[in-house]
Subunit: 314 residues, 2 copies
């Protein structure tokens, strides 16, 4: 495949720079001592609406034609991408419909409504969701934006690692969590064009290790189970992001549920920041595979902070 | 009374600059819209050992004579000052004994031990604690450092607001929580010398409103109750910090337990940072008294992040 160009990535950064926050990069002496490496946490939990998804959503919207913008956008998501599209659409004065399953948590539904998007409820199955999206498209002419398998979303996501690479020189490795693959593909592209000596590795829950198996088999694998606390990482790779990942990502590090939970609590209690379980997967990978990172400069993409603290603390 | 000089404050900053972190200042568009003011959060939850107490403790130690340093230091605290003295003493290679009540939470005792300090257990009453300190002093010749009523501790604490004032120009108001008074006195001194047009106000739980009553009566008042979630603010003012506070602090804003808890959760969930209940008192004051801050530039000292998340989320 032909990778997006260096200029494509730079353009994405310019297009969204007035919409997204440049997020801070934190370090922890205690964490560094624990893993014997220099670790840089790129904190997208401080991004608008609380996750990196704001980058991809706002970039995808910024690439629409005036005609498309006038008809609005539709996506399906019960998580961060729903809020990201809703907020980006609000900022740009565009109509948005979000297809959410009827069993989506009320708090997520309220958050999307709070940003002014319309909710379309669908049945709980992927086929129900797709049918609902089709109906919206055929009746309203809205443009569908996929949460992770969309090149403009991937380019938007690449701006996170672009910022990290600009601010921290000489990174040996960048670790990003992998679910649908949109963040990982964007991160890998950023390193490919702006820091060629930096390896990009993925982190994934062992219970939903489809990306791990996909890199081994060379084709997109699926999961038989979805039982992971990292609710943002239950989805599979797509035909647009997988070729990029296959080309540019060195390896996938898998971690257990216990390791994810321990890493999440460590960050909450010691670094005093709220990260969501999906982000803790990347932290857990650095802790578990520290032998491979000894003495290295390691960037971790902290993808978001939309954790249900009360539920997780039970 | 004669206030410490501008130079005293500058000297304190120089003395501890290699020991403490310069902490970040965060803002939140959503919070600003909610209270209709421009609010700057000075994040001492990211300070070493998780609280501003590191500043006062390390400054007090830095002022000791070689003879005093060789004999070591003692303090009484079951909270952040215990960890601060323990860590500062460890960094400076000084022996430290911390008097803690037998009923101190095990997690706090372990944290102090983790920094290498010796624990001396006392009975639960203030008189027990003072007796234990006296015994340590008479047997070991250690120097006692009070957590809040000590001029060198106050000068160390002043460096927090010094940093805030340097980085954020034109602040109309700075709000600091008040317990023992050491942070409030230091904050007031910093504004007095480096930003004379900035008012310094205190925030205090209604249930332990001794500082509120002390400013009204002009003498140090005490509490009959200690039932507040803000465990760092249960103590009374002292004869060294009260004259400074009386002279320089405009008013004390009191808030209810419900307001403290709501503010703490708002910051955890929306700003994605862990702040301890004592810090939430200052946030709650800005929310409750927003009419008085409308359109103003307001600094909030987020004093620390050593919250027991699991217990508080119950």
């Amino acid at each position: 495949m032909t990778l997006p160009s260096r200029q494509d990535l730079l353009d994405a950064k310019t297009r969204i720079k007035n919409i997204v926050h440049k997020t801070p990069i934190l370090t922890s002496t205690t964490f560094n001592e624990m893993v014997d490496a220099q670790v840089f946490f790129k904190c997208e939990n401080f991004q608008r609406m609380g996750a990196y998804k704001m980058r991809g959503a706002s970039h995808a919207l910024s690439k629409l034609t005036p005609d498309q913008l006038s008809r609005g956008v539709v996506t399906h998501s019960s998580g961060n991408f729903a809020q990201a599209i809703a907020l980006a659409a609000k900022i740009m004065g565009v109509k948005a419909k979000i297809v959410m399953p009827v069993n989506a948590p009320a708090v997520k539904v309220e958050a999307v409504k709070g940003y002014g998007a319309d909710i379309v409820f669908s049945g709980p199955l992927p086929s129900d969701r797709e049918q609902a999206v089709e109906e919206v498209i055929s009746t309203s002419g809205m443009t569908f934006i996929h949460p992770s398998n969309d090149l403009q979303v991937i380019l938007g996501n690449s701006t996170c690692a672009q910022e990290l690479i600009e601010e921290v020189s000489g990174l040996d490795i960048i670790i990003a969590p992998v679910g649908g693959g949109g963040l990982l593909a964007g991160t890998a592209l950023a390193a490919h064009w702006f820091s060629t000596h930096t390896a990009v590795w993925a982190a994934e829950p062992q219970n939903v290790d489809d990306a791990y198996r996909s890199l081994l088999s060379g084709k997109i694998e699926t999961n038989d189970r979805t039982d992971t606390i990292a609710d943002g990482l239950r989805t599979n790779l797509g035909d647009i992001n997988f070729p990029i990942i296959k080309d540019l990502v060195g390896k996938v590090l898998v971690v257990s549920e216990e390791e994810i939970i321990a890493a999440m609590w460590w960050i909450w209690e010691r670094m005093k920041i709220i990260i969501e379980p999906s982000s803790a997967v990347a932290v857990a990978a650095v802790i578990r595979y520290q032998e491979e990172m000894k003495g290295k400069r390691v960037g971790i993409i902290i993808s978001g902070g939309n954790a249900d603290v009360k539920a997780l603390a039970k």
